[in-house]
C-alpha cells in the first residue's frame, strides 16, 4: 500500500506545476506527455519526454488526464513568460527538475542550494520545490544535516528556515529502523545502516545529532528579541529528540527552566479580555510567547514529580495569558496531581479561590484546557491524602461541578465522567459506586461571587441537583446530529450504567431511585439503615442532601426518559454509534426490569449485515463485563448471548462466547447454575436453520445461518456448546465422584436401566438433564458433534459418582456396539472409509473410553473382594497388598487423567472405600497426595495454577479464581481436544491402529506442544522431573505398572512369567487372560478381546490385566531409564546413533550422536527404534535410517 500510494504521490508531485511559474514551466515541459510535447512549440526537452512515457505507463488514467490538463495550463503559462523560462533553463537547478524526482536528486539539490542560499532564486527553489517534495519521504537522511545547519545559519528567508527546523526535528526524532518516527510517506531505508556501507557519505545520526543539538540549543537560548520566533521553533525542534537521550533531556530542562525563571513570574493580575485582543505592549507579548514556548516544551518532557521547581513552573503557567500555555500547564498539573495530589493542591493554593486563575480557566476558550481542569479537580477532590483539608477539596469539587454547565460537550462529559468516578479503566467498584452516589445526591451551588456576573451559566442561579443537569444535558446531546456527540453521549450513558451497577453491587440501592422514586424499588427503604453501616468508607456523604433534592422528578423518572431517548438513537446510521448505544442499554439494564425491549432491539440490530465482527464481539464482552458487575443477571445475559449465537454465528468468536458462558456459569451461584446451564445448552435445542423464507421477520428463536460460512460457524458453536456441557455439567450440578457419598456397590444393584435413570434424575436433575442432552447429541448430531458428545459423556462419567457413571457406561456401550461389530469383522480389511457406515460410527472412538470405565469397575470389584477377604479372615492389610492397591490407584489416576482433568489428591478411581487404605499407605510411605509426578499438568507447571485455586473452587466468591479453576478444569482435556483434532484430521481412521494412536498420541502431542513453545528449557526440566520421579520411592508403583503395561503393549509376554511376585502373583491373572495376552500380537487385539463379551461382567478379575492401560507410551518414559536389565529378557536389539539425524516426517525420529536406542525392526533401509527417553521433540520412537545407527549386540 505504501508503495502504491507512494507512486501516486510522487507522480502527482513530480508532475507538479508549482505555483511559481518558473518552476512550473520547467517541470511541465519536462513532464509533458508525448502528445502535448509534440503539439507544443515550447517543449524543449525531448529526452525527458521519453522518461516520462515509461513512467506514464504506470499511471492511472485519471492521473494521466490531469497531467494533460496541467501540462496544457503550464504550457500556456510558459508561453506567457518566455523570458523566465529561459532564465531558469540556464540555471543549474534545471538538472534536478528531472522526472521523476528521486530522493537522491532532492538531497543533492539541497546541498547545492545550501551553498547558494543567499540567492533569492535558490530560496524560492527550496521553499517551493525541494522541501515540499522531500516531505513526501518517510525520513530524512542524516547526511543532509550539515547543509540544513548551513541554511539555518546563513539563510534569512523565514519559510526556508521553517522547513529547516522541520527537517532538523525529523532527523532528531528519527529512531531509524524501529520505525517510530512520526512521519509516514514513502518508506526510506535505514540511513545509519546505509552509512555503514558508505552509501550516503558515511554520515550517521550519531555524527550529526550532537551538532544539531548544539546549534538548536544556542538558538533556543538566544535572548535577542528579534530572534524569539526562531528561538521558539528551535526549542520545539529539540523536543522531538527521543526521551531516552538523557543528555539532551537535561539540556532541555535547563533551557526551559531558564526561560521560565526569566519570564515566568507574572505578578500583575490581568484580565483575559485584554490579553486575548491584539495590541498589548510588545514586551509582554514577547514574554507571553516565550512562556508559551517554554511550557509547550515542558509538556513534552517527562514528568518530574518530585521536583519542586517543575511543579512551581507548571503552576505558574496557569496564570499565563497565552491560552495554549495555560492548557499545557493544566495538563502537566493534572498529571502530576495523580502522583502527588497533596503537593499540587498546596502549590495551587489561592489559585482555586474565588477570583483565582483556575476559575478564569472556566471561561478560557480552549476546550482541552477545561478538560484538564476537570481532571485536575477530580483528582484533588477525591484524593485520600487531602482528607484533612475538606475546604480545599470542596473548592475543587465546586469547580468540577461548575464544569457541568460548560458549553462544550467535551468538557461537560469529562466532568460527568469524573463525577462518576471514571478516570482510567482501573478504578475500583467503590469509587464507581461513590461516583453514582455523588451524581444522584449532590447539588450544584454556584458561587455567589460578583465577578461572575457575565457568566453564561448564570441563568440558572438556584441550586440544581447534578443528576438533573446531567440528564438534561445528555438528552439534548442525543438530539444532536453529530455522530461524535452521539457516540460520546452513549458512552457516557454506558459509564453511568457502570457506576450504577457498582452502586447496586455494593448495596446502595436504597440511595438510588428508591429513596425518592417510589415507583421503583420501594422495598429498599427498609434496608437503608443496614446498608448505611456497610458503606465503604470511600463514599462521603453530604448531609441532608436527599431532602434538599425534593424535586418532583424522581431519578427513576429521569432515567426512564433518558433511556427512551437513548433507544431512539439506535436508528442512527452509524454502526459504531449503535454499538455504543447498545452497550449503554446493556449497562443501564437493571436486573429487576424486563429486558424484552433490549432483547428485541439487539435481535433486530443483529439482522443488519453491516455489523463488523469485531464490534459484535465487543458487545459480547460488554455482556461479560456487565455480568461481572451484577452476577444476578447471569440468566438474562445468557439469553442475550444466545441471540448472538443464533443470529450471527459466523461473526462471533466462539472463544468469547465460551468465556461468557463460563463466567456466567461460575458466577451464577449455587441456585443459578442450573438455569445458567440450561440457558447455554438451549443452543443445542434450536431447530436447524431454515431456508431463507422469513427474511425481514426476525425471531429470536430462529437460527439464521443461511450461508454456508455461518452454517459452519453454527456447527462449531454447537460443538462448543456440547463441549462446554461436558466440561461443566459436573460443576453446575455440584456432583463430583470424589464428593459423592454413594458407595459404588449400591450402584451395582441398580443395573436395571430404567431404575437407574429414575434414580439419577431424582438425585440430581441438573446433571440428569445435561446427560439427556448429551446423549441426544451423541445419537443425532452431526458427526463432529457426536464425537464431542461422546467425549463429553466420558468426562462426565469419570467425574460423577454413581449412578451417573453407570448410566453413562451403559449408554456408551450401547453406542459402541454397532461400531465394534463392524470393526472386529473388518479389522484387517478396513481401509478406513467405512467407519461411519455402521452403528453410530463412534465405536472406534468410544472403545478406549469404555475401557477406562471397565478398568475402574473391575478394580473396584477387586478391591471390595479383597476387603471382604480381609474382613472374613480378620487379617491386617499387608504392606505389599497396600502397595499393590496404591499402584492400581495411581495407574487408574494416570489413565483417567488422560481423558479429563480430575484433582489427583481427591479423586478415587477405586471408589470411596479405598480412601482409607490408600491413606494408610500414603502416610506410611510419606507420599504427598497432590504430587502425581507423572501427571502432565504437574510436570508442566500448569498444575500450579490449578492447585493454587482449587480450594477456592467450590464456594469462593471471587470470580477470577473460579474462572481460572474452570479453565484449569478444561485443561485436563487438552489431550482429548488434540485427539479429536487429530482424529478429524484423519489420523485415527485406520482401524487396527486406532487404539494405539488415540491413546498414545495425547502424551506425545503434549510433549510436542511443549517442545514447540518458547519453554524449551522447561521442557527439559520436565523430562528430568519425570525420570527422577520414577527413581524416587513414591513412584515405583507407577513405574512397575507401567512396565507391565509397556510390555503388554509392546508384546513382551515373557515378562509376566518372569516377574510373578510383584505383579502376576498378586493379581492372580487367570490362565485365559494370560493366554490371550500371549497370543494377541498387538495391544489392540487385547482390547478387542475385552470387548467381545457384552455386557461386561463387572466382577471378573481376569479382565484386570487383559485390559492393559493405554498409558503405554506415557509410562514407559520412566521405565526404561532404570530397568534395562529387565528389558534384556525380551532380547531386543540395541544400537547407538552414529550421527545426528533430523526427522523429516511425522513417523521419523530425530537422533543425536551417541544416543542409545533400541531397535524394534527394520523396514526398507529404516530401523524402527525406540529411545530410552523422549528427545527434544518429545518423541520416543520412530524410523531412522539404518546407516545412522550402529547395531550392537542384543545383550547388555
Amino acid at each position: 500500500m505504501a508503495d502504491s500510494s507512494g507512486t501516486t504521490l510522487m507522480d502527482l508531485i513530480t508532475a507538479d506545476p508549482a505555483p511559481v511559474p518558473a518552476a512550473a514551466s520547467s517541470s511541465s515541459s519536462s513532464s509533458a506527455s508525448s502528445m502535448t510535447a509534440a503539439a507544443s512549440p515550447s517543449a524543449t526537452h525531448p529526452q525527458h519526454v521519453s522518461t516520462k512515457t515509461t513512467l506514464g505507463e504506470k499511471k492511472s488514467k485519471r492521473a494521466a488526464l490531469m497531467q494533460i490538463q496541467n501540462d496544457t495550463i503550464s504550457v500556456a503559462k510558459a508561453a506567457l513568460n518566455p523570458v523566465r523560462t529561459n532564465i531558469i533553463s540556464h540555471q543549474k537547478q534545471k538538472q534536478k527538475q528531472k522526472k521523476p524526482v528521486s530522493y537522491a536528486q532532492l538531497a543533492r539539490s539541497i546541498h547545492e542550494l545550501a551553498a547558494t542560499s543567499d540567492q533569492k532564486s535558490s530560496q524560492k527553489q527550496l521553499v517551493h520545490h525541494v522541501f515540499p517534495k522531500l516531505a513526501v519521504y518517510n525520513s530524512v537522511d542524516p547526511s543532509l544535516a550539515p547543509s540544513l545547519l548551513m541554511l539555518d545559519q546563513q539563510c534569512e528567508d523565514r519559510m526556508v528556515l521553517r522547513y529547516v527546523y522541520y527537517y532538523l526535528a525529523r532527523i532528531l526524532a528519527d529512531t531509524g529502523s524501529q520505525g517510530l518516527n512520526p512521519g509516514g510517506g514513502i518508506p526510506t531505508p535505514n540511513w545509519d545502516a546505509l552509512a555503514d556501507i558508505d552509501a550516503v557519505g558515511g554520515v550517521t545520526r550519531a555524527d550529526v545529532v550532537p551538532r544539531i543539538v548544539n546549534q538548536l540549543t544556542t538558538e533556543a537560548t538566544n535572548t535577542d528579541v528579534e530572534f524569539h520566533a526562531r528561538r521558539l521553533q528551535a526549542l520545539k525542534a529539540l523536543t522531538y529528540s527521543p526521551s531516552s537521550n538523557i543528555e539532551i533531556l537535561s539540556k532541555l530542562y535547563e533551557i526551559v527552566f531558564g526561560i521560565l525563571d526569566k519570564v515566568g513570574d507574572v505578578p500583575q493580575k490581568r484580565k483575559k479580555g485584554i490579553f486575548g485582543a491584539k495590541g498589548g505592549d510588545k514586551e509582554s507579548i514577547i514574554r507571553s510567547n516565550l512562556q508559551y514556548g517554554a511550557l509547550s516544551a515542558l509538556r513534552r518532557l517527562p514528568l518530574d514529580p518530585g521536583n519542586p521547581s517543575f511543579l512551581h513552573h507548571a503552576v505558574q503557567g496557569i496564570s499565563f495569558p497565552d491560552p495554549v500555555a495555560v492548557r499545557h500547564s493544566l495538563e502537566i498539573i493534572s498529571d502530576l496531581a495523580i502522583r502527588d495530589p497533596y503537593a499540587v493542591a498546596m502549590a495551587l493554593g489561592k489559585l482555586v479561590a474565588p477570583g483565582g486563575a483556575l476559575l478564569d480557566v472556566l471561561h478560557l476558550h480552549d476546550v482541552l484546557a477545561r478538560v484538564s481542569l476537570a481532571r485536575l479537580c477530580h483528582t484533588i477532590s477525591t484524593a485520600r491524602s487531602l482528607d484533612e483539608r475538606p475546604d480545599i477539596k470542596s473548592q475543587f469539587n465546586s469547580v468540577l461541578y461548575q464544569l457541568l454547565l460548560d458549553p462544550s460537550e467535551r468538557v461537560c462529559f469529562e466532568a460527568i465522567l469524573c463525577i462518576l468516578g471514571k478516570h482510567d479503566n482501573t478504578e475500583k467498584t467503590e469509587e464507581r459506586a461513590a461516583g453514582w452516589y455523588r451524581l444522584t445526591r449532590e447539588i450544584l451551588k454556584l458561587p455567589e461571587a460578583p465577578s461572575n456576573s457575565k457568566d453564561k451559566s448564570q441563568k440558572t442561579r438556584r441550586p440544581q441537583p447534578l443528576i438533573k443537569l446531567v440528564m438534561r444535558r445528555l438528552e439534548s446531546s442525543f438530539r444532536s446530529f453529530s455522530r461524535p456527540v452521539l457516540h460520546a453521549a452513549a458512552r457516557i450513558v454506558q459509564e453511568m450504567g457502570r457506576s450504577r451497577a457498582a452502586a447496586h453491587a455494593l448495596g446502595l440501592q436504597d440511595l438510588d431511585e428508591g429513596a425518592y422514586g417510589n415507583q421503583y424499588d420501594a422495598v429498599d427503604s427498609l434496608d437503608s439503615d443496614m446498608n448505611d453501616s456497610s458503606h465503604p468508607e470511600g463514599i462521603r456523604r453530604t448531609t441532608g442532601v436527599s431532602n434538599a433534592a425534593g424535586g418532583k422528578d424522581t431519578i427513576a423518572g429521569m432515567l426512564a426518559s433518558l433511556m427512551e431517548v437513548v433507544r431512539t438513537t439506535v436508528a442512527c446510521e452509524c454502526v459504531y454509534v449503535r454499538a455504543m448505544v447498545i452497550k449503554g442499554l446493556i449497562w443501564m439494564q437493571s436486573p429487576h426490569e424486563s429486558f424484552d425491549e433490549l432483547k428485541s432491539i439487539i435481535a433486530s440490530e443483529l439482522s443488519d449485515p453491516a455489523w463488523p465482527a469485531t464490534l459484535l464481539n465487543d458487545v459480547l464482552l460488554t455482556l461479560h463485563a456487565r455480568f461481572k458487575a451484577t452476577p444476578d443477571m447471569a440468566v438474562t445475559l445468557l439469553e442475550l448471548a444466545r441471540i448472538f449465537a443464533t443470529k450471527v454465528p459466523g461473526k462471533i468468536d466462539a472463544d468469547v462466547l465460551q468465556l461468557l458462558w463460563k463466567t456466567c456459569l461460575v458466577g451464577a451461584g449455587p441456585d443459578g447454575k442450573h438455569t445458567a446451564l440450561e440457558a447455554v445448552t438451549i443452543v443445542l435445542d434450536l431447530p436447524p436453520p431454515q431456508p431463507e423464507s422469513m427474511s425481514g421477520f426476525t425471531s429470536v428463536d430462529r437460527v439464521s445461518a443461511s450461508d454456508p460460512k455461518s452454517a459452519l460457524a453454527l456447527q462449531r458453536l454447537v460443538q462448543a456448546a456440547v463441549w462446554f456441557l461436558g466440561e461443566n455439567a459436573n460443576y453446575a450440578a455440584s456432583e463430583y465422584a470424589w464428593e459423592s457419598a454413594t458407595p459404588p456397590g449400591t450402584a451395582l444393584m441398580m443395573l436395571d436401566a430404567d431404575k437407574m435413570v429414575a434414580a439419577a434424575s431424582s438425585r440430581n436433575p441438573t446433571l440428569a438433564g445435561a446427560l439427556t442432552r448429551l446423549q441426544r447429541c451423541a445419537f443425532s448430531g452431526s458427526w463432529e458433534v457426536r464425537i464431542i458428545a461422546a467425549q463429553a459423556l466420558t468426562t462426565v462419567a469419570i467425574r460423577s459418582g454413581e449412578p451417573f457413571r453407570l448410566q453413562i457406561y451403559e449408554f456408551l456401550h450401547a453406542l459402541a456396539q454397532g461400531g465394534v461389530q463392524s470393526q472386529l469383522s473388518e479389522m484387517h480389511l478396513s481401509n478406513g472409509e467405512d467407519q461411519g457406515a455402521s452403528g453410530t460410527g463412534l465405536g472406534v472412538l468410544i472403545t478406549p473410553m469404555i475401557k477406562v470405565l471397565d478398568e475402574m469397575y473391575t478394580a473396584q470389584d477387586d478391591l471390595s473382594k479383597e476387603i471382604r477377604n480381609h474382613d472374613n479372615a480378620n487379617k491386617e492389610w499387608k504392606d505389599e497388598e497396600l502397595k499393590k492397591l496404591y499402584e492400581t490407584h495411581e495407574r487408574l489416576l494416570d489413565l483417567v487423567s488422560l481423558f479429563c482433568y480430575v484433582p489427583r489428591a481427591k479423586y478415587l478411581p477405586l471408589g470411596p472405600i479405598s480412601a482409607k487404605l490408600i491413606d494408610i499407605y500414603r502416610t506410611r510411605h510419606n507420599i504427598s497426595a497432590s504430587t502425581g509426578l507423572s501427571d502432565p499438568a504437574v510436570s508442566t507447571g500448569i498444575s500450579d495454577l490449578v492447585y493454587e485455586s482449587k480450594p477456592a473452587a467450590a464456594e469462593s466468591d471471587t470470580l477470577d479464581d473460579d474462572l481460572v479453576n474452570v479453565w484449569a478444569a478444561n485443561l485436563g482435556d487438552v489431550p482429548a481436544v488434540n485427539r479429536v483434532n487429530e482424529f478429524l484430521a484423519g489420523a485415527g481412521t485406520d482401524a487396527p491402529d486406532v487404539d494405539e494412536n488415540i491413546i498414545s498420541r495425547p502424551s506425545v502431542s503434549y510433549d510436542d506442544m511443549w517442545a514447540k513453545t518458547l519453554l524449551e528449557s522447561t521442557e527439559m526440566e520436565e523430562d528430568d522431573v519425570r525420570s527422577s520421579g520414577s527413581s524416587s520411592p513414591e513412584s515405583t508403583g507407577s513405574v512397575e505398572t507401567s512396565i507391565s503395561s509397556h510390555f503388554g503393549g509392546m508384546n513382551y509376554p515373557s515378562l509376566f512369567s518372569s516377574r510373578p511376585t510383584t505383579y502376576g502373583g498378586a493379581s492372580q491373572p487367570s490362565e485365559r487372560s494370560g493366554g490371550s495376552r500371549v497370543n494377541n500380537p498387538s495391544m489392540y487385539e487385547g482390547y478387542g478381546s475385552s470387548i467381545r463379551e457384552e455386557p461386561p461382567p463387572y466382577t471378573s478379575p481376569e479382565r484386570y490385566d487383559s485390559f492393559e492401560n493405554p498409558l503405554a507410551g506415557h509410562g514407559s518414559h520412566s521405565f526404561q531409564s532404570q530397568d534395562d536389565d529387565r528389558v534384556s529378557s525380551g532380547n531386543p536389539q540395541f544400537g547407538t546413533a552414529l550421527y545426528d539425524f533430523t526427522a523429516g516426517g511425522d513417523d521419523e525420529l530425530s537422533l543425536t550422536t551417541g544416543e542409545e536406542v533400541e531397535i524394534e525392526y527394520e523396514v526398507d533401509g529404516w530401523f524402527y527404534v525406540k529411545k530410552k527417553r523422549p528427545g527434544r521433540d518429545g518423541k520416543m520412537a520412530g524410523l531412522v535410517p539404518v546407516l545412522y545407527v550402529s547395531q550392537s549386540s542384543g545383550s547388555t
Binding site: M1, S5, P182, I286
Partner: protein
Amino acid sequence: MILAVLFANSEGNILVERFNGVPAEERLHWRSFLVKLGAENLKGVKNEELLVASHKTKSGVNDVCYNQKALLNCMKHLHLALAQNCYDFRSFIGLHQNLPTRSVYIVYTVLGDVSVYVVGKDEYDELALAEVIFVITSAVKDVCGKLPTERLFLDKYGRICLTLDEIIWTGYLESTDKDRIRRLVRLKPPTEF
C-alpha cells in the same frame, strides 16, 4: 495521545500520514483499517460532516508483563492458550486476565477530494478528536484557500506538512487558532506585536 492523522485521496491512496506512538507493525493495520472505513462510509457524506468509529484494543502481552509476577501469570495463561490450541495469544491473554480494554477513537471526514482521519486514545476521545479534526480542516482550507482538490492539496503539500506540524506536536494538540498556525508556519511569533 493523537495516534494518527491520515489524509487519503478519493481512491484510498494515502497522501499524508503522521503516527505517534504506533509501532511500525501496527501502522499497516491502521492504514488499511482507516482506508476501508472511509471506503465503506464516506460515500455521499457532506464536506466536514464528522463520522465516528471506535476500536477496542485489548492490551497485549507487552502491556501485561509489567513485573515478574505479572509475567509469571502471563506465562500460565500462555500455557492455557497453547493447551487450548489457541494461537492468538495476545487476545487470549487479554481476554482471560480481565485487562482493561483500551478504547481507540476514530473521527473522520471528507474535505473536498481528500478524506481526513484522526485516531486518538485517552483524553483524545471522539469529541476531542472532533476538535482536532476541525482545527485540521480549517487550517487546510486556509492553506488551500478553498476546499482542496487532490491537485491543490499536493501543490500545497509542504505547507500542509508544516501546518500539521504546528497543530499536532508529538501526539498532542498544539495550536488551534487558524491565524496563529499561519503565523507559526511562517516562522513568526505566535502572538504578533
